[in-house]
Amino acid sequence: MAAPAYTPDEMMTVAAARMLWDGCVCFVGIGVPSAAANLARFTHAPNVVLIYESGTIGTRPSVLPLSIGDGELAESATAVVPLPEVFSYWLQGGRIDAGFLGAAQIDRFGNLNSTVIGDYARPKTRLPGAGGAPEIAAHARETFVVLKQSVRTFVPRLDFCSSAGFMEGAGARGRSPATGAGPRAVITDLGILRPAADSEELTLCERYEGVAVQDVVAATGWPLKVAAQVETVAPPTPEELKLLRDLHARTRAAHNRPAILRALKRLP
């Protein structure tokens, strides 16, 4: 049977899902991280523990939440705790193995911007902001960054640093008060970057099938370091693709279901 065709987004999600291991305690954000973490749960990591910053610990949603605090996250959770507790006892408390982060900009040391494009005081584009990311980036034992690769996103210099990666590199993070180890991998729609051993500069280590190394270099806003040997990532298996597409289909159906406003029936 021929392997099914798949999109770069699907490859990115599958590659991100594969980063998680069974039993891993994972702090999840909305979007691709959420899809990847739940895909991992439905495939090779059935015992992954998912925590959303809304306070839902050990949640097992059947569909992807649209917001970080959807009701199904609470209904299917092992525990629902107050938000101050999520950040103090669980994240700062060192109880999170892996954090999944996205961003609008990333630099060569894995530092992230999700705050503004342009000047902070007079922004060209005011982005939503960092939310939980600064402390996820600091305190999860390691992080995975997931974002599409382009010169607009992979920039030589961030407009604003929202979340620390390896800071200035070469051990800067290790000398900081951040308790986690920082980004273990950056998973894009072209391949996978990992920090180099000494410089901690992001280095292309893996590419997807059909992607050339020079495609990745061209989509990077700085002279991208490339590993001596760039491995090719195995494409999505039919099972991975099916489960991911089923998940997205269930999600679409659920989000298009009209909200049942029982209270409206009681309106005067």
Partner: protein, 287 residues
């Protein structure tokens, strides 16, 4: 504790220029109360909320706010809050001072507020640009280890407004589900208004449930569907279609203003607001 109408509660407790927090982390967002503040034309408010969400987009766009303290200002699952962006990027309808934190920083600030400590500590803002643009973020030195720990000043709103599932006849409030920093925001405030889905004879509260006792609540206001288009666990789900639709409604000033005039200013109360929406006729026909 006083049970009253939403009009009375806002008229009595919310004044121009105050610092007010309408909390609720994606869940139990007090939309009805926010709309009533817009209807009553409050101005120069310092709005505080971890996630401004659509309700603060509306209040900012309608000119209620002079300042915003927040930690994530997007339309959850959709994208930008266009009215917030327009205020920050182009000062429309007026300038908006922003005090930006991380979620962990905001949560800590509410926690200190509830505990009546002057500040909170967190291992936060590490390698982060916010301390350079938000002078509220400072640090203290640990008297035992000598290390420096980031601090934020306590957040003590003049008024906090929550939405909850139930109140009993005495005014005790039960909240169930995702709770965010609502309890801290409630206890940090000088005055607390709570809108509820319904008033019941007895709260069916498990032993360790989240209950705010009646003597910390200044006004209890029954407002069915008061969190719509957000959700109330056990009562109704989030109207995701509305959150998606808001992206188009709020993108331009004129469509936004027309929508607000028709659905908020043009309706007398939350029941009127709900009846003005397509969702109402749809749901009611299913009844």
């Amino acid at each position: 504790m006083l049970t009253c109408s939403l009009h009375e509660a806002i008229a009595r407790y919310v004044e121009d220029g105050q610092t007010i927090a309408l909390e609720g982390f994606t869940h139990l967002i007090p939309f009805a109360a926010g709309h009533e503040i817009i209807r009553q034309g409050r101005r120069d408010l310092h709005l505080v909320r971890m996630t401004p969400d659509l309700i603060y987009d509306q209040m900012i766009g309608m000119g209620c706010a002079r300042a915003l303290t927040f930690s994530w200002g997007g339309n959850p699952g959709v994208g930008s809050l266009h009215r917030l962006r327009d205020a920050v990027e182009r000062s429309w309808p007026g300038p908006l001072a922003i005090h930006e934190h991380s979620h962990a920083g905001m949560a800590a600030a509410y926690t200190a507020g509830a505990a009546r400590l002057p500040f909170a500590m967190l291992r936060g803002y590490i390698g982060n640009g916010l301390p350079a643009v938000n002078p509220q973020i400072q640090s203290v030195q640990c008297p035992y280890t000598g290390e420096r720990i980031a601090t934020v000043p306590a957040m003590n709103p003049d008024v906090t407004i929550l939405h909850a599932q139930q109140a009993d006849r005495d005014g005790n409030i039960l909240l169930r589900g995702i709770i965010g920093a609502q309890k801290e925001a409630a206890l940090a405030a000088s005055k607390l208004i709570v809108t509820v889905e319904e008033v019941v004879d007895t709260l069916a509260a498990p032993m360790n449930a989240i209950v705010l006792p009646h003597w910390v609540v200044n006004a209890v206001v029954p407002v069915p569907a008061g969190a719509y288009p957000a959700y109330a666990q056990g009562y109704y789900e989030r109207d995701n279609a509305f959150y998606l639709a808001w992206d188009d409604i709020a993108r331009e000033r004129d469509t936004f203003t027309a929508w607000m005039e028709r659905h908020v200013l043009g309706t007398p109360d939350h029941a009127g607001f709900l009846r003005s929406l397509p969702v109402a006729s749809r749901e009611r026909s299913e009844a």
